[in-house]
């Protein structure tokens, strides 16, 4: 299969693809689909969500996150619940309750000093970047789930470089992580239920409502004045993003911690 001429063929193919793409870019700009014209639904979202003068606005610049937590917030809550149930199932399968206690690894037999030092440098950077992705979720691309998924890289690196004892001895045990996860998911639902309480006492409001609507005066504060200037929180979207960040980070950390322990046990009962 592999002949002497195989690399030459690969090289010629690559160069010709690059040349063809360059010529196409020069001639037509590769925009034959008319991507500058939006469809009707896209136009509805793009023109209404970021514009604070429109009645159906979410007061958020990042339209994808706004749709996820405002326009279809109830749906997203159940997606989070499905993930929660998956984490609970993995705990039920892999939990170490009722098993013989095994000494937890410190990672010395797997890694070297080089990897440990680099991990110590990189982990804080990952934590800060993930938190900024979650907190800026209503302004820049990202959000709670994305920030939490980025954060999970830090525990993975620690588990690979230092072993599971490093996390366990610093309070990252199963009970606490599951408690953070359950508390965050519950708080998301409570924040979504606040408009219903308003509906019972004052007037019209909708489940998982964010800002005011034409027939409903209920609104979360979306523009908060502070001594250094106005802060745009986009109503409940920022609260949902932060809670979802904690939920996803704790849940995935728990799943990976349990899997690493199973790996260190080496298949023994």
């Amino acid at each position: 299969m592999r002949s002497k001429s195989f690399p030459v063929i690969c090289l010629i193919t690559t160069i010709s693809i690059v040349l063809i793409l360059a010529v196409l870019l020069n001639l037509s700009g590769l925009t034959t689909y008319g991507v500058n014209e939006l469809t009707g639904l896209a136009k509805l979202f793009v023109l209404n969500i970021p514009d604070p003068t429109k009645p159906w606005s979410s007061h958020a610049f990042e339209i994808v996150t706004a749709i996820l937590w405002d326009q279809r917030g109830f749906d997203t809550y159940f997606e989070t619940s499905v993930l929660f149930l998956a984490i609970v199932a993995s705990v039920a399968l892999l939990s170490s309750y009722g098993r013989r206690h095994m000494p937890e690894s410190t990672g010395d037999e797997y890694t070297t000093m080089i990897v440990k030092v680099i991990t110590k440098l990189v982990v804080p950077i990952i934590a800060v970047v993930s938190a900024s992705i979650a907190i800026h979720g209503h302004l820049t691309p990202g959000g709670g789930f994305q920030g939490g998924s980025v954060f999970v890289v830090a525990p993975v690196l620690i588990l690979l470089a230092y072993g599971s004892r490093f996390l366990s001895s610093r309070g990252f045990n199963e009970v606490r992580l599951l408690a953070i996860r359950a508390l965050s998911v519950t708080l998301i639902f409570v924040v979504g239920l606040v408009p219903v309480l308003y509906f019972l006492t004052h007037g019209t409001a909708y489940l998982f409502q964010n800002t005011y609507k034409p027939d409903s005066a209920f609104t979360y504060p979306y523009l908060i004045p502070t001594p250094i200037g106005m802060i745009l929180t986009a109503g409940s979207i920022m609260i949902y993003n932060i809670l979802e960040f904690f939920a996803v980070a704790a849940g995935f950390t728990l799943a990976i911690l349990l899997l690493t322990r199973e790996f260190e046990r080496g298949g023994k009962k």
């Binding site: 797997y110 070297t112 080089i114 990897v115 990189v122 950077i125």
Partner: protein, 125 residues
């Protein structure tokens, strides 16, 4: 004057990165062994990732733009370059070490000091 020096230094670094990437891809095809191919891949990561990013930072500094935009672009480039320079060598180091210790690939070498040490009973760190 300083703008021209920065601009052409950045261009030279970017060009060097392209040449390094070409060398790395040819080496990835032509080397026979796992360890030799890992060596070629590391050339691609450091030479083809680190140098062009530093070059882009210099080019961005030399452009006739607002100082905030210049500082933003070159800062992002320098941070990305620093992360690549920190993590890529550590990653290839632990990959080669794990492969050697698991015995999946036996290196074709004349002298294997790590193997001698492990046979003597010492846990090489």
């Amino acid at each position: 004057m300083i703008d021209w020096i920065l601009y052409y230094l950045g261009l030279a670094l970017t060009l060097l990165g392209g040449i390094m990437d070409l060398i790395a891809s040819i080496g990835f095809f032509r080397f026979k062994d796992f360890y030799m191919r890992l060596h070629a891949a590391t050339i691609g990561a450091i030479g083809g990732g680190f140098y062009p990013l530093i070059g882009l930072a210099l080019i961005a500094l030399s452009l006739d733009l607002d100082i905030y935009i210049k500082a933003y672009i070159s800062g992002v480039c320098v941070i990305a370059a620093a992360l690549i320079a920190l993590t890529a060598p550590a990653g290839s180091h632990i990959l080669a070490r794990a492969t050697h210790r698991s015995g999946e690939v036996v290196p074709k070498v004349i002298v294997d000091r790590i193997k001698e040490d492990m046979e003597k009973g010492g846990n090489e760190k």
